[in-house]
Symmetry: C2
Subunit: 922 residues, 2 copies
């Protein structure tokens, strides 16, 4: 026996079932399932997706047995209904609909009322006694068939309808008389003939075959392809075709059509929710000409049918163990179920339904966890705009950091801080941001940039802070000089109000009111369930005690990344930081030269010595002053950093805190605009020229590949020493107060084991000295970020000394692809559009490429240190797919921004459940 291509359903049973979604499509599988459940489904059959696959693989031909199988099923359908396709007494009318395994609403084609021609039309009139209904059905059929099968633009038919209504001076389609409809049918057929040169197909069997062809062909129409691209739908065989007997909701006042959700999709409340229209077809509901009534009104009008629906609701929910989105039609007092599927819902509803279903015993906790889309939680965690407020969107950009913000436009970080200090709400608008803007970003309600992508500086920092942020709004033309920006012809000046929606990327004029989200008890319940099932530890990236506290509230189990440099930008600090940075190279240069000369002196012949000695003395003299200032700057910064760390240790009491030593290139701490440079010159007693010179000296052609990370620690050991001292002293101080601490010192941008070893030795030496002096001992770990391809490749050597690894996947992605995340916007859109990349690798980890390096790193690292603790602290730590990857390859933790901690908790649980035990049908 060959393969079965067609599956019959109806009369209380179906050959298919809900499990056969891949083969029958979502619609077909659920029609079969509903039949099996004994629900009144109009009979029909489903031609499987394998036929679609065959169709495309064989130059649009069908399997040779298909035709016979189609005939057999058609005959069965006719027998079931006691009607015949083309029968002039009991004509069978069918719908032909597409339906793939994944929902692609509105993307594919449908033909209704198929089977009508001049003769069956008469039979329909006879049978229903409703001439207008029959003619209306006929003209609808010709229009749909003309559009879907014959490829004639629907507008042409609609144009005729408009003309007819105009001529007859009527407003609604429903006012068209039989005469009008008859005229339209004629005109429609003329259009078909004129457009295609062929007569409209009258033979119902031919109509059916052509409609089936058209549905299969529609699978690869541009709209459908684009949709699949957009929603990343992959790996399907194709669409199925559902042929189903027509039922009519428009056969009078005992007929109706409706859609409803078995629970409220907005709140999750356990009550039928939906709407219906008396005497209407499904498309009338969509067209919006008549306003549908809420479903509860059905209870009054047709109480027995309402009860019947309620009964089916229970059957379906019990069966599918989830909230259902159903379509029904009532034809002359008889209820037909046309569709059921899992209903889409808000995050809030999602949580409520899942917890309710557990209470009702329909699902268990694991299943509940699998029912929540982690990404959707984001909606709940940030302020949102009042849905009732009026919005004037003037530009859109990338939704870099979710939330809603409203404030006055300012164009500099300094001004943002000033105004914020005066309790004004501001939106910081920049072409792009740099580390010197961080304090201003923190002070602002939201950040808008005209450049940059989802992982630009602005985006990353804003997400970390939980600040609403829209980036890469290309139409926004920022003019710093004039202190305004324009979008097309609209101009927004400094001080004007704008609003940002960081969740969708919209920029709005004026103040749009916002509402604070409330976290329901369902949220807490679900998070606790998730925690029961996950293996991955969830940490957070937090640079301040405030962020740390927030993350702890969201359930973070430690800090996976505390960036010390963000602490450098405070008002009282940056001057000392700059002092340190400006002097470090000079001091170091002088010291190196003195050393070299002293070396030379030892070997020099007598006669050269006095000269050398003189030079050494001169150099020592010129070292004195900068060295004093340099040491003073370091000395000033030490207590500030120490106190930061103390606060963070206290906040994270009992939990690990990973502190990364200085990472960014030093020039990021210097001002790049002349005005700020002038200010700095004044403050530091330098000339503007000298400041410019110092800035220029630190400038690099490719700073991302330059003098940064632990390379700074190698060349300017004093700076790392100061930071290590601050960490260890803070740890000793806090420990002495009886607070449990787990400091972890993280060395960034390591590329060789020797580099790490050198720095670790010096950290340990310093720590021993400090602890001895403090008279206490703290346990601390020294580990490294794996963020360069070479570090992953050499992980076995590095792990000989490193006590933990944290994958810095932002940089690792940059290096592995050779993409600068600050410049990628120039070509990434083309790469996505042309399908070269499925998605932005800075948003979702490139598991195929970068993932290989991570796996190499994990595997090699554990060869030399089997108990190596491994985590990730790049932006990907908050991305569900990436978190699943981290779980799969056996990491110990992920670290993400505070606002993504709940998402990570949930994802980690899902990954563990998914990997181990049950799988979701959502």
């Amino acid at each position: 026996m060959g393969k079965k291509y067609i599956y019959f359903f109806g009369n209380g049973k179906g050959e298919g079932s809900a499990e056969m979604r891949a083969l029958l499509g979502g619609k077909g599988a659920n029609l079969a399932e509903m039949s099996n459940l004994g629900l009144p489904v109009p009979s029909g059959f489903t031609i499987s997706t394998e036929v679609c696959k065959f169709y495309y693989e064989n130059n649009q031909k069908y399997p040779h047995r298909l035709s016979a199988e189609l005939d057999k099923n058609l005959a069965r359908l006719e027998k079931t209904l006691g009607a015949g396709l083309g029968d002039t007494t009991h004509p069978l009318l069918v719908s032909v609909r597409s339906g793939a395994a994944a929902s692609m609403p509105g993307m594919m084609d449908t033909v209704l009322n198929l089977g009508l021609n001049e003769e069956t039309l008469l039979a329909l009139i006879n049978k229903t006694g409703n001439e207008r209904f029959a003619w209306d059905a006929y003209r609808r059929f010709i229009c749909m068939f003309g559009d879907v099968v014959m490829g004639i633009h629907r507008d042409k038919f609609e144009h005729e309808v408009e003309r007819a209504k105009k001529k007859a001076r009527i407003k609604n389609d429903t006012d068209l008389t039989v005469k009008h409809l008859q005229d339209l049918v004629k005109k429609f057929k003329d259009i078909c003939k004129k457009d295609t040169g062929e007569d409209f197909v009258d033979d119902p069997r031919a109509q059916l075959q052509k409609a089936i062809n058209a549905v299969f062909s529609s699978w690869n129409n541009p709209r459908a392809i684009k949709y699949r691209e957009l929603y990343n739908i992959q790996g399907l065989l194709g669409t199925a075709v559902n042929v189903q007997v027509m039922v009519f909701g428009n056969m009078g006042n005992h007929s109706a059509t409706g859609v409803c959700f078995t629970r409220n999709p907005s709140t999750g409340e356990n009550a039928l929710y939906g709407e219906f229209l008396i005497n209407a077809q499904g498309e009338d509901v969509v067209a919006g000409i008549r306003t549908p009534e809420p479903i509860r009104n059905l209870r009054k009008g047709m109480p027995h049918l309402y009860e019947e629906i309620l009964r089916y609701k229970d059957i379906l929910e019990r069966h599918y163990r989830d909230m259902q989105d159903i379509e029904f039609t009532i034809q002359e007092d008889k209820l037909y179920m046309l569709q059921t599927r899992n209903g889409k819902r808000t995050a809030e509803a999602s949580l409520r339904i899942a917890t309710d279903l557990v209470k009702e015993g329909l699902i268990d906790k694991k299943m509940a966890v699998m029912r929540i889309d982690p990404q959707q939680l984001d909606q709940l965690l940030h302020p949102i705009f009042d849905p009732k407020a009026k919005k004037v969107v003037i530009a859109t950009g990338l939704p870099a950091s979710p939330g809603a913000a409203t404030g006055k436009v300012v164009f500099s970080a300094e001004e943002a801080e000033e105004l914020a200090a005066r309790k004004e709400k501001v939106i910081l608008v920049r072409k792009e941001t740099s580390p010197e803007d961080v304090a201003g970003m923190h002070a602002a309600q939201g950040i808008l940039t005209s450049r940059g992508g989802m992982t630009s500086h602005a985006a990353v920092v804003a997400r970390g802070m939980g600040r609403c942020c829209v980036v890469g709004a290309g139409d926004v033309d920022v003019d710093y000089k004039a202190q305004r920006f324009s979008v097309n012809s609209k101009v927004i000046k400094r001080g004007d109000y704008i609003s940002l929606d960081g969740t969708v990327g919209e920029v709005m004029r004026g103040q749009v009111s916002t509402i604070e989200p409330k976290l329901s008890s369902d949220f807490a319940t679900l998070m606790n369930w998730a925690d029961e099932f996950r293996k991955l530890e969830i940490r957070t990236n937090a640079d301040t005690p405030q962020d740390a506290a927030k993350a702890r509230m969201f359930g973070a189990q430690g800090i996976g990344l505390c960036r010390t440099e963000h602490m450098f930008f405070g008002e009282h600090r940056i001057d000392f930081v700059r002092q340190m940075i400006l002097l470090a190279p000079e001091v170091k240069g002088l010291k190196v030269r003195i050393e070299a000369l002293e070396d030379e002196l030892r070997k020099a012949p007598k006669e050269k010595r006095p000269e050398l000695k003189g030079e050494i003395a001169k150099l020592k003299k010129s070292l004195e002053c900068p060295n004093t200032l340099y040491e003073k700057a370091l000395h000033k910064l030490l207590p500030m950093q120490r106190s930061d760390f103390e606060k963070i240790f206290r906040t994270m009491k009992g939990l690990p805190v990973t502190i990364r030593l200085l990472d960014p290139p030093l020039h990021e701490f210097l001002p790049h605009e002349e005005q700020s440079q002038r200010g700095m010159a004044k403050k530091m007693g330098m000339t503007l020229k000298d400041v410019k010179l110092a800035v220029a000296r630190l400038q690099e052609l490719n700073p991302m590949l330059g003098h940064r990370g632990c390379r700074l620690g190698i060349t300017y050991q004093d700076i790392y020493d100061m930071q290590v001292r601050a960490v260890i002293e803070a740890a000793c101080n806090v420990k002495k107060k009886g607070i449990e601490i787990h400091p972890e010192i993280m060395i960034p941008l390591v590329c060789t084991a020797a580099e790490f070893g050198l720095l670790k030795d010096s950290i340990n030496k310093l720590a021993r000295t400090i602890m001895k002096k403090k008279g206490t001992r703290v346990k601390y770990a020294v580990g490294t970020m794996i963020e360069l391809p070479r570090a992953a490749l050499m992980a076995d050597k590095i792990a000989e000394q490193a006590e933990f690894f944290s994958f810095g996947t932002n940089d690792l992605t940059q290096m592995t692809f050779g993409f600068s995340r600050d410049d990628v916007a120039n070509f990434l859109p083309d790469y996505i559009e042309k399908g070269i990349l499925e998605k932005d690798p800075f948003q979702s980890l490139d598991q195929n490429g970068v993932g290989q390096l991570i796996e190499i790193g994990v595997k090699k690292g554990r060869t030399t240190r089997p108990d190596l603790k491994i985590g990730i602290c790049g932006e990907h730590g908050g991305d569900p797919e990436s978190i699943e990857f981290c779980h799969r390859i056996g990491m110990n933790y992920v670290s993400c921004s505070p606002y993504r901690v709940p998402i990570a908790r949930l994802t980690a649980a899902r990954a563990n459940i998914h990997g181990g035990e049950i799988s979701s049908t959502v």
Copy 2:
């Protein structure tokens, strides 16, 4: 029986041999070997390097059996000589010398005349009847022992000698009388007592032990450590200690000391070459107080001894099968051989000796190939300064590209071109260079930059061109405005002459005359032998027909990298290139928007359509003008590129030519200095502001990770199409003339297989069209560079479509380390100095890290395409160690700059011989 720690030699046989170099050090092994050969070696014994290792691993203690073994060997030595250490009749005097497996000349310590004290001194006087000789020996011993063993600065002793001479009003040490020497001995002993608080050691056995201790300790003195670092000497156990009976060349006119090479180390001529001094000790030759005589004079003075040396020369050469560097001493008419080792020689001598030894039947061709150091060949391939010329070195930098150049200083590429056009020789001096300077660099004799490292733009391009180049001369302070540079207080103005030595990195004032190198017939012979033994194909990186011709002359078997962009900088071209670059984004932007609107139009409701249509028409209108100009620019560039390719195909007739499509970011083609921008604005009918805007728009934060390589081909397909058209049309044209061609089109910076596939498809499609039109077919390959970590990781997928791989190890090194080669100078010196990196990974391939990725790429690539042709075209293609790596992992070819082709040919042969069959002792 335990381990043997001490090896005796003398009396015609040695317990060791030349093969035991690792254990006995070079000196000890050769002393044993010479003994075995029956040469008159003063007897002695060698304490092995294992003792040194033990000494350091056990807190400076010795193996417990060592003392007994030392006594035994000492007794044997005494017996052999009929003398005793401390014997007051026949005192034994010995030398104690260090000697590791690798030569570390002058880096380690020696004590001579050990065994002397007041009593043995008298015995020596008695025995020799030469009181002055004896006292002189004694004061020398005290000085050396004081310095080496007791740690007293040698100066202190010398100071006394000077005082004594001054007081006695004599000039030379040789004029010191017995009385003077006796006084000095007393003073020396006083110094020892005063400096250390201890009496000078009189017991000869204690002297010996202390001297041995001192030699072992010297292994880790700072000088020795530094030397090993400098010359990258690794993996040694330690030093051996050689204790050997003293022989004296200063016992009168029948005594002498000398050093000689068995062949001329400068020319290779087969004749004894060296010098000697009558009545002198070895150190007198070095001190340079008396002028030694050429060795041939020994023939007259001591003909029998000269004959004896000639006899030993033959024995040694036959035995070692190489030219020897020997030391001898004649003590009262008896010849003693003190040392033999393979002699250092110039490249020229190296070639001659190797070919001569083959002719003499001493070695075979393979061995000859193994005898030549590939790096050394560099000396022969570039012009050099006349060794007789006077040089005033004013600054030094990195020797970026070898050779010698003299010319007038200019500070801009344009001026270099102008002056060169007037046949003036110029040196281009820049802070750094960029691609817009390439034509000027080509026009100049040499290039000097104040910034950048060995793989900076200037360095790479200059090496490719074979231009002499010194980079990173930090003391050179360039002032473009004033058109001059200063070094410390010296000022060199535009038009002044300077000279550059690219081989050593020196900058000299004025014109230093140069000489052209001549390649000897030995060179050709050896290259041909090398070709017989190598498997790797050697190609060249050449961008012009001139370079290609030169490389072919040097034996290149094809072009492995032809960079199309270097062709863009010609005077008549750059304007069109710039036109193309400025317009490409605008044209593309408009086209994309038109497309989007047309898409929208298809789906739009009726009422929106007129508006959309209007907008589309408007955009099409504004596209017209830039598009016309853009196409014109492409149209102008096409024939230029085509003609370049035709010339190159002709030059490389019969050999493969790999052409890389446009690679650098577009902004590199735009002028960055205001003056040039002004010129461009004028030429192109733009305002200066617009030019600046365009330049700024193309600026990137990290251009190395930006919009470049095939990313340009993806976004601006027209540009790649133009280049592909030029290649294929050129190929068709040349083929029609009956010339055999093998074009290979190389796509740079690929990171995904999809990216490559898209571009390859479009290349093939275009090529088919062109070939059809031209009515001919050419075979061509399409391959890719593997220069991103991701490309190496995804090599299996990429090789499904790519027909060849060429590893671009410059970029691969940048990405794998996260090092920008333009910025690495800020920290790389520290990394080398601190031993984090053994060497600059841009000069010699990082086999441990980057090498892993290359191996992954090679292995994976061949899983999907077993016959994949794989090569390397980064700078490493000319580095011997890297070439060996390429051979080892099974690459098919390496490609290097023309001047390094011979080096690569030789290295490839050595790698194959080394891997397979014999190993060298050199």
